[in-house]
């Protein structure tokens, strides 16, 4: 049995992270810190044109260049791959066509990086240019050549239509129907560490790849597919990531390329992308146009909602199908939506591919929903905080789209930030130029279904106890700075009553550690935590049985804490943890246990029900205080009060760090970060550098007042829910709502640049609608919506179509 709450000694305590000393002393080895004897350096030649057929590639001059050891082109690696089974549309090097500026067409391995650079310049590529597709509108126009030969319509990767209940009827019942159009510009992760990978192929046909990847398990699978090698001969080791934020979650072309170059040259091959290439790798936030129409009762309750999203996917599938579903999935988990219709599509364009960035597909619709509600509150004469508080989704309920809600602490979050920010006395009452904005959010604690269909655990942990008292935890999880290694140590230490800093952690190594699906979808604390809990409890059981037998007492009397084992009824009767392990090893042989975790099955049975379910949902509410300069249009955030319903903080100081980092990243997205393009048809990256891609420095960062709301969720280890992504969600809408409170300007588009604020203020001065944002809704011939009756209409989670189950296959998150 797990220790009960009042006996927790490790969980809930703000301890250092287990890898903190290595990080502050420079000992942590990131991928580019690895050097092997005879190592070659790899550079990739990238497309200089956004859309073209490859007529010819001549590598002869490069091959003859002194110091060049290997050269690859697309036909050397012809097998396609991609993170989602439904979007296997990438090649390690372009085969016959390039799809964006930066798409790699060839690769060189040479004795040093400079020689590889030089050799890339000696490769002659002849392109036959095609018209390029610049944005969503362009793609839907249908006049341009197809970027891919698959998808739901011409240059439409995916089109989704789902309806839960009769939305049209629900809107008729409403006292107020409000419609809005929003745009959320794309932005990128900008991890401080540039992606790097090192491959080492041995003549006995074994390959090791070290890579800054958040998902070594998926890289492992992609390498096996593309290299046509048995997975059992491939070992992928994810080095600690120098920041990920979702940007290192795809299997990447450069990882496959160095592996193949190593196989061909028989030497280790390393690549470290330069910063410009990191911008091309991208997989960041999808630029998203959103239309929302909602019916409200006078009291602020929602009668029905119709939401449409249009995502600019860039040149490849990546996680895009899941991203598209996510733009429609979580609208229902905060405020009850009795009838809900979602239509979403993702287009292909000739730009770097978009994918999952912190919040994966949900910050855009959350921004839209929370600003939409702010406007409606004003129209209905309701306080925006009160309106939300009066209409909260119930804990232990099921939403219209069949998401099973467990614990739900949003009410407590709103109350906390309202009280601490002085909302009731200050909202709407600050001097001109200063304003308060409030918004909420919710996020999954891990996806309910794996990316590829299987019935195996999502996370596995092995535990080894040795007779010296040492404990080693083996788990496939990947440390990206969020503290996943530490969570394993804390959970095991808590159960075994030992010091977490005495535990060895071995993670993210496909040969040594059981599979964990990876550091994405905020799944790691909940899933690896539960797996570690199970493994540790099984180890504890072996120790307890051995000790109980020796002392001749019932097992329930044996307790473990602070490295000691003792009889709860006879405090004199003790032994050390190490002595207990020796007893257990004497009785049972070598002590090793395993634990695994599979999420509970979600009630949704319709096609698309795979995206959105989670073992637990986190909730967050934030109030932002902003200052807007009406002369320059500049917005500065002074303070953010944020409360996050975390279930339980395994380590509060680490959790606070995640909240503060999320606020920071949300602030950047709200005010300045944007992946924009220029040049011929808008497909040349505007500023692929850290200087010109504006991200918040110390000068732009705001004060943050963080409140952790702890209401343990039964599905979380010790009650823990996620904290890595959810706290970002309320930040952009809170800031945008604050800008309205400050100067009466509605900016329905992020980032809120000075130009946009000034444009809205100019209209305000002319007595026009004081708004800046997208003006034109796009049209699309949507497919007939899959009809799924909600639970309160007698639905059982299936779609109506002939009363049979049509879900089960398809897409997962």
């Amino acid at each position: 049995m797990a220790p009960v709450e009042d006996q927790l000694r490790v969980v809930g305590t703000s301890l250092p992270k287990v890898d903190a000393v290595a990080k502050v002393t420079g000992r942590t080895k990131f991928a580019d810190d690895l050097f092997l004897p005879r190592m070659l350096h790899c550079r990739m030649l990238r497309s200089t044109t956004p859309h073209a057929e490859i007529v010819s590639i001549n590598t002869q001059r490069a091959e003859e260049h002194p110091g060049v050891v290997g050269v690859l082109v697309g036909r050397d690696l012809p097998n396609p791959y991609g993170i989602l089974p439904v979007s296997q549309d990438e090649h390690a090097l372009c085969l016959d066509k390039v799809r964006f500026i930066g798409d790699p067409v060839a690769a060189v391995a040479a004795i040093d990086e400079e020689t590889a650079f030089e050799a890339c310049e000696l490769i002659d590529v002849e392109y036959a240019p095609l018209d390029s597709v610049a944005d969503i509108e362009d793609a839907l126009g249908g006049d341009d050549p197809a970027i891919h030969l698959y998808g739901d319509a011409h240059n439409v990767h995916k089109a989704i239509a789902l309806e839960f209940g009769d939305v049209e009827a629900a809107l008729i019942e409403a006292d107020l129907v409000h419609e809005d159009l929003f745009f959320y510009e794309g932005n990128t992760h900008l991890p401080m560490e540039q992606h790097a990978a090192l491959a080492d192929y041995r003549p006995d046909d074994r390959l090791t790849l070290w890579s800054s990847s958040q998902t070594p398990h998926y890289v492992h699978r992609a390498l096996a597919t593309v290299l046509e090698m048995p997975a059992s001969r491939i070992r992928v080791i994810a080095t600690p990531n120098g920041g990920g934020f979702g940007g290192k979650s795809d299997p990447f072309n450069h990882e496959i390329v160095v592996a193949e170059l190593s196989r061909r040259t028989g030497r280790p091959v390393k690549i470290c992308l330069n910063r410009e290439e990191v911008f091309y790798c991208h997989r960041g936030r999808h630029p998203t146009l959103m239309w929302i129409k909602t019916g409200f009762k006078q009291d602020g309750s929602i009668t029905g909602m119709h939401f449409r999203s249009f995502l600019d996917g860039g040149a490849y599938g990546s996680y895009g199908v899941a991203s598209t579903y996510y733009t429609g999935a979580l609208q229902t988990v905060t405020y009850p939506v009795p009838a809900y219709k979602f239509e979403g599509l993702r287009v292909f364009t000739n730009k770097p591919p978009c994918g999952p960035k912190r919040g994966h597909g949900t910050p855009q619709p959350r921004f839209a929903l929370e600003v939409h509600i702010d406007k409606v509150a004003e129209k209905l004469g309701l306080d925006p905080a009160r309106m939300r508080l009066d209409h909260l989704v119930e804990p232990d309920s099921v939403t219209a789209n069949y998401l099973k809600i467990g614990s739900m602490g949003l009410g407590a979050c709103i109350e906390k930030v309202v009280a601490e920010s002085g909302w009731n006395d200050r909202f709407g009452k600050l001097p001109e130029g200063k304003g308060l904005g409030l918004a909420c959010g919710s996020y999954i604690s891990g996806a309910g279904l794996p990316i590829y269909w299987n019935n195996m655990p999502h996370s596995g942990v092995q535990l080894k106890l040795d007779r010296g008292g040492g404990v080693t935890v083996f788990c496939g999880s990947t440390e990206i700075g969020q503290g996943s290694d530490s969570v394993l140590a804390y959970v095991v230490a808590e159960v075994l009553g030992i010091d977490p800093f005495e535990i060895d952690i071995v993670t993210a190594d496909t040969s040594l550690t059981p599979v964990d699906l990876g550091s994405y979808s905020s799944r790691v604390t909940l899933m690896t935590g539960n797996a570690a809990l199970q493994a540790a409890e099984r180890a504890r059981e072996l120790l307890v049985r051995s000790v109980a037998e020796k002392w001749d007492v019932p097992g329930v009397r044996v307790a473990m804490a602070e490295g000691q084992v003792f009889d709860v009824q006879d405090p004199e009767c003790t032994m050390t943890f190490t002595e207990a392990v020796v007893l257990a090893e004497s009785k049972f042989g070598t002590i090793g246990t395993v634990g695994s975790y599979t999420p509970p099955r979600s009630p949704g049975r319709y096609r698309g029900a795979g995206v959105g379910p989670s073992p637990a949902y986190s909730y967050a509410a934030a109030v932002a205080q902003v200052a807007v300069d009406v002369d320059t249009g500049e917005t500065h955030v002074d303070d953010v009060w944020i409360a996050h319903d975390i279930g339980r903080a395994i380590n509060p100081v680490v959790a606070i760090g995640q909240v503060e980092g999320s606020v920071y990243m949300g602030l950047g997205e709200a005010l300045m970060e944007e992946m924009t393009y220029r040049g011929n048809r808008n497909v040349v990256h505007h500023h692929p550098s850290m200087l010109e891609y504006k991200s918040p420095t110390t000068h732009e960062m705001c004060r943050v007042h963080t409140y952790l709301i702890e209401d343990p969720d039964p599905n979380g280890p010790f009650g823990a829910k996620e904290v890595g992504q959810g706290p970002l969600l309320p930040i952009p809408p809170a800031i945008v709502n604050g800008v309205y409170d400050a100067v009466g300007a509605r900016v329905d588009e992020v980032p809120v640049t000075p130009q946009k604020v000034l444009a809205a203020l100019k209209r305000k001065a002319k007595q026009e609608e004081p708004r800046e944002g997208p003006k034109k809704a796009l049209t699309f011939d949507w497919p007939d919506a899959i009809q799924v009756p909600p639970p309160w209409a007698g639905g059982d989670g299936r779609a109506l179509e002939e009363g049979r189950e049509i879900g089960g296959g398809g897409v997962r998150a």
């Binding site: 703000s14 000393v21 310049e121 920071y664 850290m690 420095t697």
Partner: protein, 185 residues
């Protein structure tokens, strides 16, 4: 990017390569490198001190910060040939036989290093600040660290860590506050 120079390349290195003797973390090194090789590259590739990281190699992110005679310098823009006789300090030079530097210790206690990739640069920039200003205001810390980007922390735990370390370096018995470790309220 340099123009292709296939034939002349090895000659180029031989004739223009330079033998330099930088003093790094108080210890003398002797390396022979092409003159255009940056201090960042020499530290990481020739001397093996990989604690110094890089985020852009263009002088934009502050990640590769090292100290030269105590002053923060972007090692990706510094040429070692110009550093004869000067003292280079990297993150590896901060700890001593007594343990961590107070800044490192404070970063550990407050979770100021998340992914840890920008951390060496921040710790060194902060050390340079505290050398000249043992009691910096929050605004002075923000300014001193304004050239270093961090994508994980939002900088706040870093400020707190610098303040905690500064207090300890002044000899005050400072400990993290409850709010730093457990949140407001």
């Amino acid at each position: 990017m340099r123009r292709p120079n296939p034939a002349g390349r090895l000659d180029f290195m031989a004739s223009f390569g330079s033998a330099i003797e930088p003093r790094v973390n108080g210890e003398p090194y002797a390396v022979a490198v092409p003159v255009h090789k940056t201090l960042l590259e020499v530290l990481r590739e020739d001397i093996g001190l990989t604690g110094t990281k890089h985020g852009c190699e263009l002088g934009e992110c502050g990640t590769c910060t090292v100290l030269i005679d105590g002053q923060p310098v972007l090692s990706c823009l510094a040429l070692p040939a110009a550093l004869e006789g000067r003292d280079v300090t990297t993150v590896e030079g901060l700890e001593s036989a007594d343990g961590l530097h107070p800044l490192q210790q404070a970063f550990v206690e407050l979770g100021a290093a998340q992914c840890g990739y920008c951390t060496p640069g921040f710790v060194l920039a902060a050390r340079a600040l505290l050398e000249g200003n043992p009691r910096p205001s929050r605004a002075e810390i923000e300014t001193a660290l304004g050239g270093n980007l961090c994508r994980c922390t939002g900088y706040l735990k870093i400020y707190e860590a610098v303040e905690l370390a500064a207090a300890r370096m002044r000899g005050e018995p400072a400990e993290p506050t409850r709010e730093m470790l457990y949140g407001a309220g």
